[in-house]
């Protein structure tokens, strides 16, 4: 049971309160119709799946219900940092 820091509630809360939301910082294209099939495929399906630091979306579903972003190490499952939606990925979070 991991404790996750919600950047809105500013509290460490147990992982059962949260849901995972996939890789972060993939903005929906403003005009999807302008994308060719390959570009749309890239947006829709292609993800990094790194070994190590991974920026990803989480939602404090059973709390404030807000989406936020986190950098988590996929090897250790350790959360390096969590930050609010819209904020850039913090520099220097990668080991």
């Amino acid at each position: 049971m991991i404790l996750i820091h919600c950047p809105y509630c500013e509290e460490d809360r147990p992982e059962v309160e949260f849901t995972y939301g996939g890789e972060a910082h993939i903005a929906r294209p403003l005009d999807p119709g302008a994308l060719d099939d390959r570009q749309w495929e890239t947006y829709l399906y292609i993800r990094r799946n790194p070994r190590g630091a991974h920026a990803e979306r989480w939602r404090h579903a059973h709390g404030c219900a807000r989406f936020f972003n986190a950098v988590r190490d996929t090897v250790t499952d350790r959360f390096e940092v969590t930050y609010k939606t819209g904020e850039p990925r913090p520099a220097g979070d990668t080991k």
Binding site: R28, P32, G33, W40, L44, R66, F67, T76, D77
Partner: protein, 954 residues
Amino acid sequence: MSGYRLAAGGRIDRSRPLAFSFDGQGYQGFAGDSLASALVASGVTLFGRSFKYHRPRGLVGMGPEEPNALVTVDRGPARITPNLRAPQVALHDGLQAKSQNRWPSLKFDVAALNDVFGALFPAGFYNKTFMWPRSAWEKLYEPVIRQLAGLGDSPVARDPDHYDATYAHCEVLVVGGGIAGITATLEAAAHGGRVILIDEQDELGGGALADPVQWAALDALKEKLAAAGNVTVMTRTTAFGYYHQNFIGATQSLTDHLAPADASGPRERLWRIRAGEVVLAQGAIERPLVFNGNDVPGVMLASAGRMLALRYGVAVGHAVVVMAAHDSGWRDALALAGAGVHVAAIIDVRNVVGADLADAARDAGIAVHIGCAITAVHGRHAVTGVTFAANGTGPACKLACDAVLMAGGWTPSVHLWSHAKGSLTWSEAWGAYLPGTPIENCRAVGAGAGAWDMGHGVVTAVLPSHIDVRAQKAFVDFQNDVKARDIHLAVQEGMRSIEHIKRYTTNGMATDQGKTSNLNGLQIASAALGRPVEQIGLTTFRPPYTPQTFGALMGHHKDALFQPVRKSPIDEWATEHGAVFENVSNWRRARYFPRGGEDMDAAVLRECAAVRRSVGIFDASTLGKIEVVGPDAAEFLNRMYTNPWKGLQPGRCRYGLLLREDGFITDDGVSARMADDRFHLTTTTGGAARVLGMMEDYLQTEWSDLDVWLTSTTEQWAVIALQGPRARDVIAPLVSGIDLGAEAFPHMAVREGTIAGVPTRLFRVSFTGELGFEINVPASEGRKVWEEVWDAGQAHGITAYGTETMHVLRAEKGFIIVGQDTDGTMTPYDMGLDWAVGKKKPDFVGKRSLARPDMGLPGRKQFIGLLTEDPQDLLEEGAQVVADPDAPMPMPMIGHVTSSYRSAALGRTIALAVIADGRARIGQTIFVPMPGKVIRATVTAPMFYDAEGSRLNA
């Protein structure tokens, strides 16, 4: 009969005899005994039968590592616990235990024939033998294997015991209550803060319990623990898993050590402990030696012999031989001799042994054979003697004895350390892996950290022998019956990774998880592969450390608390009126209302006919509901749904279709515009949370510029669906403030007013194809309004109907149920819902994906209706549809039946299906092959009743 109770010594209370039984025979032990010590004291050597060969097996260890002595404890009906390790079962008066995996009896076991034909069961036996024919697996191999290769039997009746679960938080958690663990606890306690010490045994002390010299010091330490105000000590508590962020799972046994009459309260308690720092003081487990006959009952670990003698006052035999590869075996032999046990000889595989040890042994009257190894153990149900030889190859010498103690060195218990992903470092001195660098805030102490002077030993546990290894019964994994030659065979057959060797041989895969076999297996593999052990690595340790009861893991989450049942405000009324219920997501919904012995088919036909003839009432409260409010509400819905929403006038409803971004249908529902800036959305019953989450996702992360608020109102509204030609007549006297006339209040409109004096959002909508209303009232008033409508409906022949009738009526109209008629790969075009897609909208969720070339390819499955040739043939939902029933196997399948019912209105069966190019097949015959027959059906449009919709608009 070999073991016996010593005249004195041990920590047992000889003034308190306890009666117990094993396999129905009565025995006596003392308070403080374990089941294993009491049985050995009674002369029992045979404890069980091995997993594969059904070989007779005795006790090996006196702790969690015990691989053989697994017993079933019977605490009364439904309280039968299999697979308990006898040394870890505390004795109480009246304890009833029995052996396992034998038939008809432990001494005469028919399946021991497996052992005679042992050559037929080599490594990888299951993989090689039972592959084909495939049908034989289900009918023959699996039942036979399950019968033969089994552990204890699970109880059949439900477990009547209660299991508790709780949390604990502390600054320091110490796992293991030996001297090292107690010392670490006291050190931590001195710094203040909460300290928890847990230990799996009945009393603290660990290995020191087998060393009376330390008992005074142990008592002094225990007194200090009791005096420390910030220390919590929990015995009979097993830390079984070490998870992220210093989260430890532990099970505390509360009543199993008590006679049933004395037991009250929960049987076990699951602790979830979050600790600032974890100190692992788990100790070390002695390693067996691998030699011919090392599994004959009476061959056990030297540490077990010592524990039996010094903690329990039990001699393992009248003439004990110690087979040592490590100094600790000599110390144990001397300790045994000091306790009055006759140690006949020490045979040590090493060529050089410390003179002090050899002198001490000779002084104690023990024969010493250095540079020798046992090459055979005699006896079947009990040891009668051993043969040994210099270097295992010299002239054979025979020695009579009734117990053999193995001292193969020590394996630090790094299980929990590894659960937490701490690294391991190979130690040549220990011949074992020691804790390296932790990931968590954790440290290891004591023998488990390799921080203990164990004396000298040899790294290899495999003894040389003049007998060809292929002829030896030299066991590595006792519980899974893996022999040294099985590991050689696995290497010979191409296994290189230790993980593959493990799975091919099943070494270390038994319930003991290789506590005694992993390192020996690794060393044999290392020799066979010709690579150093540290290059081969270790198999992964995973929780649980020892087997845990399902009861403890379930805790309170059973019966009504297993999964909360959501009930609508009408639920009690439905119960009182004899409803049969079904579960729909977490909701309990009335499925049908049988009358006078009706079965479901009869009840549903009656309910369906009543709705089409007069009027029916249905509880639709479980529909998901979301209140969408804000100046940008219409714009938001316009982006989410396929349909256009901006032009929808307040007071009007619209069917909304929701896609995922990949273009496939995920939900639908009718929604109403209550005001310019307010919508009353409905979703499917099962999709409510998912849809809200999806909408929140877009709103929060993509379109945060939109000023919209989403609120789940699913449980705030009771929804009473009133459907049928008399629906308007029923509610007319109850409604005020709303003109119910067909023109003033048309189909797909919403009005606000009151019904039975209760404020309502009254929808004129229909999921049946009849004139219909969905009466939304505050949930607290739901039952009152329902009953008023029910009473008012009596004059019109009102009939209550359930979800099954709802399904039939909507199928007659071809209305889809998302998740039943769609499966996550269906587009609006596939489902014939082109009309619901706003063609002029520049964007909505999923629009771009609908433009992918694949979405328009011919051959996609399309939603159609099916009418069977025989009008009474009822197709099976999920049945596969084929175009040619005579096509050779594998027969091409073109789709499947999604919905199938008996229609009262049509007097025949109807079905809905998705089949390739379905709309082009309308009028054609397709086939549904079923066991014993092939059903012919005609493809139709998915619309069976009132296609022009005149009833709906009445």
